[in-house]
Amino acid sequence: MVILQCGWATLFANLLLPVGILIFSSGFFPYKPLLPGLATFNEIDRNATSPVFDKVIFMVVDALRSDFVYSNESGFLFTQSLIREGAALPFTAHASSPTVTMPRLKAMTTGSVPSFLDVILNIAESDTSSTLAYQDTWLAQLKARGDQLVMYGDDTWLKLFPGMFDRADGTTSFFVSDFIEVDRNVTRHVPHELARSDWSAMIMHYLGLDHIGHKSGPKSPFMASKHQEMDAVVNEIYTAMQQKSHLQSTLFVLCGDHGMNDAGNHGGSSAGETSPALLFISPKLQALGAQLQSPIEQLDDLQYYQTVEQADITPTLAGLLGMPIPLNSLGVFIPEFLDMWDSGAQKLHILGRNAQQLLNTIKATFPNSAFDDDTIASSCASGADSGIEGAQCAWAQVQQLRSSNISADEAFSMIGPALMRFSRVAQDVMSSTASNYDVSRLCLGLMVTAIAVLLVSRTVFHECTRSAHTGVFLVFMIIGYGSMMFASSYVEEEQQFWYWIWSGWMFYLHIRFEASRLSSRSTAGSPPARYAALATLGLAISQRFLRRWNQTGQKFAAEPDIARKFFPGHPAVFWGLVILTYVDAGRHLFKSLPSVALLRLSALVLTALAFMFKVNFAAADSPELLIDSFISRAVGTWPDSFSLVWQARLVFGGLACYVLLAFFIQKRSGNARTPSTLFHEALNLFLMMQSRATNIPLFLVFRVQAMILSAMSLEGIQVTVTTLILQYMTFFAFGGSNAISSVDLSSAYNGIGSYSVILVGVLTFVSNWAGPIWWASMSNLLRPQRDSGVHSPAALSTFHIAASLVSVMAACTALRTHLFIWTVFSPKYLYTIAWATANHVAVNMLGGIGLSYLPARK
């Protein structure tokens, strides 16, 4: 019993961790007051403006970065010709972080800025609390009008808007390697939908371009043909709009939900990720006479044409389609479209309605701020042009102009700019105050976690004084790690810290080791001592490989590494290493089983099955690894009898049997290590199942490291520190980082036929934390048997995780107004939650308890 050994203090500390996390999170993740219900027109509004369009075709191309359409390297030739003719108005729509699909769709349909919590819900896709069924969107407005809506493409829309669409065909992005089928499934519906006239909104969401980006980046050779394919769809729709009478007044919107960075990923806030393209297309728009130049030279900041907010789409659509603006919209009507109306009064009315709606949301968020004439003097006197005072002042000026005597002709040119100014200030105010922190809860959560630190600090202090140098190193590491959490670039580049600290720790192990050799030289020259000199060298070389396996972080993410640069170019080396890893895994599993012929044979069969699954999975998920390799020729001859799901289930089932066996044989076998070795080997194969193919050879590296470490016969506390550092280091070596975009979902559905939050969550965690889990199990094997009574690893790792939680919470509290709070610090906080709850409490603590049952009782 790991926890009971080290006492109730550690147990309490571990119970306090989730409590502290819950309290802190409830204060940290902003709650935004949402106005319930749907916006409606009053009598004046209904007749004041006439709708310009009566139908909308909303075509989302996932990750359509602005330069994909506008630059001279684009394949959107027809679309560019529309820009030149003035039939298409191009914009760059700023997508605020988090740049993942679901929050972006929320922004584009409600016009609001989605809360950070939506990111988590984006991963837990089927969560029903994230639906927009009860929120005011332009889709809901159309539906309320009695119109029909149809939807083809990404099924996120179906989850966001249950029951909204009259006809729909959702596609899931199961394999990112699928560039063709996902899009063909959308395009095949286009012709007959264009022929029908019963809908007033058709939504299409193409995923293929995003898949190409994830797979091989924005400069992928597949990009050009995908551009052309999307351009052909635009052509088809535009031609129909020109020819078919029922599409005469249709507005065609082509946009990306977010962009992508140079590695092809998204989720963060770099220029590439936040700059999707946005085009409004209709023959009617030629009346505006905006014949812009196209294509344009490649721009580094990607801000082509005019930059608008993504939220601006909602009020613009509402205005053009003659609908009320959704209640919670923070968008501003794009002024270029004002000239679609002739009279100044109508233009003014559009702007006025937009301003009034923004004013209502401001009033709901700031109930204490008055927006009447009395505030003119105070707010404008302070000279503020931003913040809530700025909004008050701007509104005051609008009121002033409105009350003064202006002729109807001049009204628009006088009041219009004032309304625009107010709307812009209001948008700024509302977007920046999307976060209302509850500071008292933040502090309470911080204090609860700090108590957890104090609870274990006594045990840790004893440990540290007992082994002075290791203790000093541990404290140095924890302080260094904690202070690092306050610097955004160190959070982004956390892997560098672990590689760095690991090099220091290796050096320390080396010194200890050499010192013991020097002192024992005179007494007895032990035979392994000769090889031992190479031990730390072996560790150093293996860590150098780990370091280069997957480049992560921000600064050096695009640099060449082994997994993404070397292996695709050298498939023979890659598959050789993979086979070697599976042979090694099979050999160890074979040896760890009791010597019953049938059992041992089953180990080999299971390993072979696991390998076959990995190859088949790679063939579907990352076919570029199989091109020109000997494996691809072998795969061609395999019978295609099993689905991937069943292959995975078979392997999982076999491994589960071994784990049960491990619990069973421990009662009989004399060797206490056998059951935990068997457990470790079964786990090893399971983790390999859950890892990307390119990461498989890392398990071979782990094996080498574990061999060296066990040869060094470390003390208990050294094993704890070693595995602690290795857990973090290997997390990053597998390609993890502190950015949401680096969560690997490719193995989340292994063996699962349909979506299940818990199973997918567990599999996602395992596939992202494969390295840490491996070392958690290995630490159990490395730990010397005799001093387990003295040393308490649970207290040390609890101390570390609680201290790092405290520092992350403190950083999030102190820097809550920092520019990067939502892009760097909050993701880090989310990752720390995963480290603390899933990795520490579940894997290290509960797993430790479980494992302690294996060898302890004989």
Binding site: A468, F473, L518, K555
Partner: protein, 292 residues
């Protein structure tokens, strides 16, 4: 590296249970007692830091060229430092003996009574005579030979070893190779020149160096400081300040220079001089713990 441990947690080295005969370790080496040596030994680290600061701009602008250009000057400085301030290999015993009766006996109680393993065992007696005598030709020769040897070994052996260590500690392998080698050359000149000059090719001393088990003295302290400084020098690299000096070898090299100067100065304070970092608890300590 062992972080703060070498400086903060040094155990008292002398433990009577450890017979010195079991560890025929070379004693700590101090700066020569002459006035010139003492003064220059303080001037030298400051001089190096000044050089480093003066050439910093040029280093940032053209790293490889500048590192190459500074190499001979650094070698010259290091050689003049060791010749002026340190006893050459094999004469260690002479210096220790010559300055007997001074504070060193207290500061360095570890210095064994058994003869140190020297470069050429026959010569210490001869050298001692030479040293007490006038500075003549053979005296200069006795200093220049080890100086030449140290330069050769430093460039031929220490530089590649340090380059490999740099890569193992995270220096890029597929790019920046000239930078890595030149950085290693600078670090080798800083750390190894004095070590080779003082200890020659004494195998046991080098084992102690490899195991970070030397007693603290200015020679070893500055070498360790160079390594530690380089390790800490890696810290600013990941910052997103986008400054040109964050490029690979610059911070590490500057850290090495600062570490060298600090190590050289700190290690001669009486608090640290002659002490050893005790990593493995001695037999007696272990039994004490068990009884507790």
């Amino acid at each position: 590296m062992a972080s703060a441990t070498p400086l903060s947690a040094v155990n008292p080295p002398s433990s009577p249970s450890q017979a010195p005969a079991e560890k025929p370790s070379a004693p700590p080496v101090n700066i020569l007692p002459s006035q010139l040596a003492k003064v220059y030994s303080y001037v030298h680290p400051v001089l190096l830091l000044t050089l480093c600061a003066a050439r910093f701009q040029a280093l940032v602008q053209d790293t490889v060229q500048e590192l190459l250009r500074d190499l001979p000057w650094l070698a010259l400085l290091q050689i003049s430092y060791v010749v002026l301030c340190l006893p050459p290999a094999g004469s260690t015993q002479a210096i220790e003996a010559g300055s007997d009766g001074e504070e060193k006996k207290k500061a360095a109680p570890r210095s064994p009574s058994s003869p140190a393993v020297a470069l050429r065992p026959g010569k210490p007696g001869y050298r001692r005579k030479q040293h007490t005598g006038k500075h003549d030709w053979s005296g200069a020769w006795a200093k220049l030979m080890p100086a030449f040897l140290s330069l050769t070994l430093t460039s031929l052996l220490a530089t590649p070893i340090l380059a490999v260590l740099l890569v193992l500690f995270g220096a890029p392998l597929t790019t920046h190779n000239p930078e890595t080698v030149l950085c290693a050359a600078h670090m080798a000149l800083l750390s190894a020149t004095a070590l080779v000059y003082v200890h020659g090719v004494d195998g046991y001393v080098w084992k102690e160096v490899w195991g970070i088990a030397r007693p603290v003295d200015p020679v070893w302290g500055s070498a360790l400081g160079t390594g530690l400084g380089a390790w800490f020098g890696a810290i600013p690299i990941p910052l997103d300040w986008d400054r040109p000096w964050q490029a690979f070898p610059i911070t590490i090299l500057v850290g090495a220079y600062i570490g060298y100067a600090l190590g050289s100065l700190i290690s001669r304070t009486p608090l640290l001089y002659g002490k050893r970092i005790q990593f493995v608890p001695t037999e007696t300590e272990e039994t004490e713990k068990k009884t507790n």
